[in-house]
């Protein structure tokens, strides 16, 4: 996928570059550009909440209002989808939301790296959620958890047919969840890079057209970044609800 004019591939932005080489027990766990942007996401979240909760006024300032908005947004999402019992997982969902949100948004900056555009990261998060939800489900309901795969109110004949499908859709959850985030981030960044490449290759006059397209797609990608963070957190809530309440 070499670009003819610039020689840059749109995939180049996804290359993992070690910044500090670390080797632990035979594993290469170098501090990379991906780890750096994870650090930025953590730092940005920490800074936001630190700044927002420094004064803790009755009438919130801008930063505090932002933090409260995020808090209540996620808290309501957890409460509405999993009920009050699900609120004990609120810190996890809130962390997940903020981590993905800042990972996506910071990745949109020029020269930035988007760690959510790597399938291994999204898959790790999705598999962790899948395993956690399954463990919570068995811990709460024991073998009764299998009733999740039997559609409620279905006659026996239909239930026998539907149960494998339900089981399959349950097992496929981490795949769809990780692919959704990964593919959205990947496609958006590739598209931006390709369009930006056209700006260079078409020159100042005709380059205006792809430039405007880059502008529009950037707005779209900001929206996608927010929506995908929301979707990931929302699906986590829905899966948690299944584990807590079965149906």
């Amino acid at each position: 996928m070499e670009h003819p004019e610039t020689g840059h591939s749109p995939m180049e932005q996804f290359i993992i570059e070690p910044l500090i080489s670390i080797n632990l027990a035979g594993y290469d766990i170098s501090y990379t550009n991906s780890a750096l942007f994870m650090t930025f996401a953590v730092a940005a979240t920490a800074l936001l909440f630190w700044g927002a909760t420094r004064q803790r006024t009755m009438v919130p300032g801008r930063l505090q209002a932002t933090a409260e908005l995020l808090y209540e947004f996620v808290a309501n999402m957890v409460k509405e989808n999993t009920g009050t019992e699900g609120m004990r997982y609120f810190p996890f969902v809130f962390t997940l939301f903020m981590f993905i949100l800042f990972g996506n948004v910071l990745g949109l900056m020029p020269y930035a790296f988007t760690f959510t555009s790597h399938i291994i990261v999204t898959a790790a998060m999705a598999v962790f959620i899948f395993l956690a939800v399954t463990i919570i489900g068995f811990a709460r309901h024991g073998l009764h958890f299998f009733s999740l795969f039997v559609p409620p109110g279905a006659p026996l004949g239909i239930a026998i047919v539907l149960a494998p499908l339900e089981l399959f859709s349950y097992l496929i959850r981490p795949v769809s969840m990780s692919l959704r985030l990964f593919a959205n981030m990947l496609a958006g960044h590739v598209l931006l890079k390709v369009l930006a490449g056209f700006v260079i290759s078409l020159g100042v006059v005709y380059g205006v057209v792809p430039f405007l397209a880059v502008f529009a797609v950037t707005l779209l990608e900001i929206m996608v970044a927010l929506i995908q963070a929301y979707v990931f957190a929302l699906l986590t809530c829905i899966y948690l609800n299944d584990a807590i309440h079965l149906h």
Partner: protein, 163 residues
Amino acid sequence: MPQFDPSSFASQLFWLAVMFVALYWIVAKIAIPRIGEVLDQRARVIQDDLDRATQLKAETDQAIATYEKAMAAARAQAFDHMRTIQAELKTVADARTAEVSNAVNRQINEAEARIGEAKKKALESIKNVAADTARDVVAKLAGLSPDAGAVDNAVAAALKDAH
């Protein structure tokens, strides 16, 4: 695609775990308690204000009720007073009316008595005039001098007929 290069997987997974745990600690131990505290505090203040407003409203309602009760009592008392005074005035007025009408009646009776007296006197004098006239007429026409007693009797009989 760099995404499918397994050589970076260990590093990515390791730092993902480290950073996610770090962020979880920050969110769970610092951000959520602090923001939750602010929200709780605000909710409590608002609830307190609402409670106080409700309490003040109840007090106001009570004050209004007390006022209205006092007002109604005062009005009732005023009516009582008015009725008592009216009754007193009526008694006085009745007494005065009776007194005056008694006086008037007495005067009327006196006046009637006086009129009766005057009438009797007038009738007496008419009898004398009639007797004198009758005697003069008899003397002039018949040249007789009638007995005074007979003339008086005749006049009295005539007057009796006229009545």
